[in-house]
Amino acid sequence: MTDYPPFDPERARAIIDGLAVREGATLPILHALQEAFGCVPEAAEPLVAEALNLSRAEVHGVVTFYHDFRRAPPGRHVVKLCRAEACQARGGDVLAAEVERGLGTPINSTSPDGRVTFEAVYCLGLCASGPALMLDGKLFGRVAPGEGAARVVEACAS
């Protein structure tokens, strides 16, 4: 559970300048911005473009290409649930439906009250211990439909 500060161009610039000297610095910069602000807002794009001598369109293209980068901060809780084949084979679909119902939040969306972001992820590398999910950065394997889904929903209640 993380509370992110609002986007701050000064702080963003400091982050960008600290990383801009690295080879192929775009992704490290975008990750660092998202870690600081919970997202990479559009306002950050011209700053990155300027520092790396890229066009704003190029930076926009990169930000929007990758599934990880968000345009708005996530909810207070983030659930990333694996939807790939190995988890499907172990009841992942049932679990996903139960968590979705319990949270009242469709997959790949944030609840209107900002309580929880519920996302699909395609493999956490726990393919012999599925269904698997990541809740607020912590991994969980063998999450049983029913009881396991209820625990996820409960953890995201506040």
């Binding site: 192929g24 012999a128 211990s129």
Partner: protein, 518 residues
Amino acid sequence: MTVRVFIPGDAGAVAVGADEVAAALAEEAHAAGIDVAITRTGSRGLFPLEPLVEVETAGGRIGYATVYPRDVKALVAAGMLEGGPHEKRIGRPEALPFFARQTRLTFARCGITDPLSLDDYRANGGMKAIARAVSLGPAAIVEEVVASGLRGRGGAGFPTGIKWRTVAATVAPQKYIVCNADEGDSGTFADRMMMEGDPFALIEGMAIAGIATGATRGYVYIRSEYPHAVAAMEKAIAIARRAGLLGRGIAGSAYDFDMEVRVGAGAYVCGEETALLDSLEGRRGIVRAKPPLPAISGLFGKPTVINNVLSLAAIPFILAEGAKVYADFGMGRSRGTMPIQLAGNVKNGGLFETAFGITLGELVDDVGGGTESGRPVRAVQVGGPLGAYFPRELFDTPFDYESFAARDGLIGHGGIVVFDDTVDMAKQARFAMEFCAIESCGKCTPCRIGSTRGVETLDKVIAGRDVERNLAIVEDLCHTLKFGSLCALGGFTPYPVMSALTHFPDDFRRNRAREAAE
């Protein structure tokens, strides 16, 4: 006397409570006045045993399986710290058939040593290879790798030594070693286990690749879904650098090599080597047309060795023990061992490293023990989301590159996902198209648009509308994807779709009768 205890810190163990078990055990031992030293190892790789706690005794390491925090008090009281009897005691883990049947060359240390201890690494055969590599010199290293028969373990199966030879022969002021650790295939976790469980082996392999080809910089591109692997590699690189194994004059030689970790951002297609290079350069992960080969014009236009984690991690064994020892394992043109990953609905899920040639049926039924649900195995998907579904009738297929290709499949990165008889193969075929639509980089039209049309058409089939005509369209689409895409995402998505259609035709025709009745 201090009791040594080993608890995996591997993500697969942590996800089922290993951290809490380690904390509970430290507390319980303290309360009982027993001095314990807990080492967090990688995982041995049989995940149903996790969290697996091992206690060092005069008779070797004794394992206790599926130890949860609530069990710790009773286990300590029962004498676990002396290796005492308990229903969770499994004896020496390496004596279990799952481990005893393996040939662990690449994963020899994983689950046994402290992943971040260089002393452990050295004491268990580590750093022998780089010493030999330095004495052999670049040309002889390359020939050793060629002679080992090692082929790309990421899935494409291209001979690693040939790749290295090309980079070595290309003159440039800067060359790169890039490790592809963007292990996005569902059903695979060997790269993750290696990076978390024996990161120095990968570092040593990359440094040897650097010496062999004249590359002085390396990158490990790890997917963001693997935070534990990222942390382990970063720590290991820092330790290796402090010990002089990376940087200027590595391991006391005249060769320079340094490396760093780069983290992906949730794009499956970046596991494709040219898309990965674009991503490393800071761009959208768009697939490049070949030629030029990355070996000639790769990262930032420079000659680049791009190899999978498992290929690079196999290098220390090959250099330390000699190419012949490695090549003596395997069959046909598939030499050495493959770390196979048994996943999905399988009883004994985990990492099984073995020489090429074992049959799919032995893997699924004997080693894997069938399904975890106890129901019959109906299908197994081999090689990730782009791999074919195999029915039981094809379980006699030997596990090697050519045998799988001959049956319209691929071994890919060695993942086997097992499904029981509740699986709906039409749904799985639809998922393959859906996944392709979500992850397509957009460069090739058949992949970008064909995948979405594939989902729509399969939806019609599943709904029972005009089934035969729509299946003909799906087949036609698959043909277009296969031959009209630059990379394996578009090119191989037809494998799961067509194999499902070929081997499980009834699943696509369930609603046809209903339609006729209406």
